[in-house]
Symmetry: C2
Subunit: 437 residues, 2 copies
C-alpha cells in the first residue's frame, strides 16, 4: 500500500514541520516534503502504477506512534477487579489466584481488546510479558501491531518446573522472533530478581546471548523488594543483576523506582533500558522513580502503562503527562521534563528501549511508518500555539483519528480496520462474566 | 422539559443502582425507580399532557455532573502559550503582561470555549474568578451552565483603584447573583492575601456578610508565598485570614498546598472549603496539598482544574484520577482515597464547596438535575466489574454522550445543543492569532 498524508503538521521529538506531505511506500516513510504529487510518485515507479491512498491531514498533527515499553496486555481482563489495595494483598489474594486458572483463549481475546485500546490511544508498539504468549503473538500478527513479546518466567531453580518455563520461553523465540514482517520480536523475561533463582537468571542470560534477543524484567519496583534483597543477598537488586552479568545483554528493566546512586551509575554504565510506569507506581503506592537522576547520567528512560489491573488503562497520553507532572512536583522545578522531552520518552526513547530505535520512534525518511494522526481542532485543544504542548498537556485520545503501523492503516477515521471491534467487545463481556464478584 | 432516562446504571458518591429509570421534571430529579412509565408520568399531571423525552441509558452510567470548584475559565485563551516555566516568570513575564490588554469580547468567547470543553468532559458547575465577569455570566446564561462567578480583586488599599475593584465586584452581585433560574451565583474574590491589602480583605468580608455571598480566594499556593507571609506579617496566610475574620464568611480557598497543622486545624474549625488543584500545583511545581491530613480533621476538600494556562485542560476526570494517585504515592498507602472517595471529591464535595450542596452533587430525588451519561461499552473500559473504578481509573471524556444541567440537555449524543461549537472554535482561532509568538 502507498499512502500520502497531505498538508499535515509533523511533530516528533526532533522537530515540528507545519503543512508538509508525507509519503509512505512499502511500509517505509519514503519522503517528507512541503508538496508531494501522487502522479509524480507513481511515475517514479517504472514497473507499474500503484493505487495511492490520500489522507487529508489538514487541521491535524502527525506524530510517531507511542511505544508502551512495559505492559502485561491481557491483564485488561482484570481491569477494575481489585483496586485500592496494598501490592502484596493485591497480588497474592486477588491477581495470582485467578491467573492460575487463566485460559489461552482468554489471553488471546483480551490481547486483542488491549491492542484495540492501544491503537485508539495512539500506541503502535509495545513490550509485553505474560503467559500463553503464542496467543498474544497471534493477536499482534492479526492486528498489524508491533511488539516485543516475552513469556514471564517465574522459577526458583532449574528443576522440572524451571526447565519447562525456560523451554516455553525459548519456543516463543523459535516460533515468533522476527516474524509478521519483522513486527514481532521476542525477548526472554525472567519476571524479577526476587521471583527467579540465580541459576534461572544465568540461564536466561546465556540463551539471550546465543539467540541474540533482549531480556525484559521487573527491577527495584518497591522499597520492600530492595530491603529483602539487601537482607537475602547483601546487595541491591540492580547490583545483584549486574553481578550475574545480566547487563551484558540488552535489557529492558521496568520500574527502577527504588534505585540509589550506585544503582543508577550501574544502569548508565551498562546501558540498561529503564521503563518508567508512573501511573502503576503511584496507584500501588510503590513510589516515584528518580527519572531526572537517571536521565542526568545518560540512562535511556522509556514509558509504560504496566498492566491495566494496576493503571487502569493503556493510554500513553496519560503516562506522558503524569511522567512530567510527577517529576516537576518532586524536583520542585517546573522546567523539569518540558513537553518535548516527555514526547521523546513516549516515542524515540521507547523505540530505543525495546530495540527498534533504528526502525521507529521518529518521523524520519527511511524508518518504518508507525504514525498517528490527531485532529487538533477540538475545544480542549484550542487555541493552538505550540503543537507539542497541545499533545503532551491538553490532548486526550478522543482526538486521534488515524493510526498507521508498518505502513498499514490500522485505524481510519476512527474505525479499526484490522480488528472486529464489536466481536472483541462481545467476547470481553462474555469471558469476563465468571470473574465478576 | 420532561425527560426519562431509561435502564441506566446510577452512580454517585452514595450508591450504585443498576438498571434504573430516572425522571426529570421542571429541572428536578422527580423520581428514581426500576421502571418509570412515560404514560403514567403524564397522567399524574392533571393540567396538561407534556412531551416526555426518552433517553436510552442501556450500556451507560449516569453520574452527577462534576463540579470544577476553582478555575479561571477564559484563560483557555492562553492554553499552551507558556509552559515549563517557574511560577514567577510565568506570571510576571508571560501571563500578566498579556492579561493587561485583554478585551471583554475575548473573555466572552473563550468562556464559551471553556464551557464547551467542560460540558464535553462532564462538568456541570464551576467556580470562576477572573476579569470582565459580566461576559462570563453571559456565556453561562446562554450555555445553560451552572456557576459561582467572581471578579478577581487585586488592590493594595481602598484607594481609587481599590474602590473601583470593589465596585466592579459589587455590581456583579447586583446584576447576576441568583440569576439564570438560579444557575448563577456570585462570590467576592480578593485574589490572595498577598495581592490584597488588609483594608481590601476586610471590605470584601463586610460586603460578603451584608450581601450574603461567599468569598473565593487563593490561599497558601506556594512555599514562597508562605515564607513571605511569615516575613511580612509574622504568621501564615491561613492564620492571617483567620485573624481578619475572613473565615466568618463561607469561603472557598483554592490550593492550600503549604499548610501546617495549625493551619489545617483553623481550616477545619471555620469550615473553610478547600479546593485541591492537583494538575496545576504539579505543573507549576508548587507542591502536593496535604489532602489526607485536611480530610482527616473534617475539612471539605473539592477539586478544581485551575486555569487552562497551567493545566492545560479543564478535564475533571483527569483531576479526579491525579488527586487519588498523588495522595496514594505520597502517603505510601494504596488504600488512600479509594475510587468512591475521589468521585465524591469531584461531585458532592465540590457542590458543597461552592454552596450548592443542597441542589446538586448527588443523584437524589428533589435535587436539580445536573447529570452526565457515559457509554461504558468502550475498549478502554471493558470488562466492567466496578462502575466507580471504571469512571475514576479507566475512563476518558470520549465516553461521555449526554449532559443535563438544571434539567436541560446541553449535550445530546455527543452534540452540544446550547453552544454553536463551530462558531466558537472559529472565534477562538481568529481571536488567538495576535497572541501567537
Amino acid at each position: 500500500m502507498r499512502i500520502i498524508v497531505k498538508n499535515v503538521t509533523l511533530v516528533d521529538g526532533l522537530t515540528v514541520k507545519e503543512d508538509h506531505d508525507l509519503y509512505i511506500k512499502d511500509g517505509v516513510i519514503a519522503c517528507i516534503s512541503p508538496c508531494i504529487s501522487p502522479i509524480k510518485v507513481n511515475s517514479d515507479d517504472i514497473e507499474e502504477s500503484h493505487v495511492v491512498q490520500i489522507i487529508d491531514g489538514a487541521g491535524k498533527i502527525a506524530f510517531p506512534g507511542f511505544v508502551n515499553a512495559h505492559t502485561h496486555l491481557s491483564m485488561v481482563l482484570f481491569r477494575g477487579l481489585a483496586d485500592d489495595l496494598p501490592l502484596k494483598e493485591w497480588l497474592e489474594k486477588e491477581i495470582w489466584p485467578i491467573e492460575k486458572n487463566l485460559k489461552p483463549q482468554e489471553v488471546y481475546w483480551f490481547a486483542l481488546l488491549g491492542i484495540a485500546e492501544m491503537i485508539r490511544s495512539g500506541t503502535t508498539a509495545f513490550a509485553d510479558m505474560y503467559f500463553y504468549m503464542d496467543e498474544v503473538a497471534r493477536a499482534v500478527e492479526e492486528s498489524g501491531m508491533r511488539a516485543l513479546l516475552a513469556c514471564g518466567i517465574i522459577a526458583e531453580s532449574y528443576d522440572a518446573h524451571g526447565r519447562k518455563e525456560i523451554e516455553t520461553a525459548r519456543n516463543l523465540i523459535v516460533d515468533w522472533h522476527g516474524k509478521a514482517n519483522g513486527r514481532i520480536n521476542v525477548a526472554l523475561a525472567p519476571h524479577a530478581p526476587y521471583t527467579c533463582g540465580c541459576e534461572i537468571l544465568e540461564k536466561t542470560r546465556d540463551i539471550a546471548v546465543s539467540a541474540g534477543v533482549m531480556i525484559h524484567t521487573h527491577l527495584s519496583e518497591t522499597a520492600d523488594e530492595v530491603k529483602r534483597s539487601y537482607a537475602d543477598l547483601g546487595m541491591s537488586p540492580v547490583k545483584y543483576l549486574a553481578s550475574l552479568d545480566l547487563f551484558s545483554v540488552p535489557i529492558l528493566a521496568a520500574h527502577c523506582v527504588h534505585v540509589n546512586e550506585e544503582d543508577i551509575a550501574l544502569l548508565a554504565e551498562h546501558n540498561v533500558m529503564v521503563v518508567h510506569n508512573p501511573t502503576s507506581n503511584a496507584k500501588l503506592a510503590s513510589g516515584i522513580a528518580p527519572v531526572m537522576q537517571m536521565k542526568a547520567v545518560g540512562v535511556n528512560v522509556a514509558l509504560g502503562t504496566d498492566g491495566a489491573a494496576s493503571n487502569n488503562n493503556l493510554d500513553m497520553l496519560e503516562e506522558m503527562r503524569l511522567a512530567t507532572l510527577l517529576q516537576k512536583v518532586t524536583t520542585k522545578d517546573p522546567t523539569t521534563i518540558p513537553a518535548i522531552e516527555a514526547l521523546r520518552m513516549a516515542t524515540c526513547s521507547g523505540a530505543t528501549a525495546i530495540g527498534i530505535g533504528e526502525l521507529a520512534g521518529t518521523l524520519t525518511v527511511g524508518k518504518r511508518a508507525d504514525i498517528v494522526l490527531m485532529d487538533i481542532d477540538k475545544v480542549n485543544m484550542l487555541p493552538s500555539y505550540d503543537y507539542i504542548s497541545d499533545l503532551v498537556y491538553a490532548a486526550n485520545s478522543q482526538a486521534i483519528t488515524d493510526v498507521i503501523v508498518d505502513g498499514q492503516i490500522v485505524m481510519e477515521r476512527g474505525n479499526l480496520t484490522t480488528i472486529d471491534e464489536e466481536r472483541v467487545k462481545a467476547k470481553a463481556r462474555e469471558l469476563s462474566v465468571g470473574y465478576r464478584k
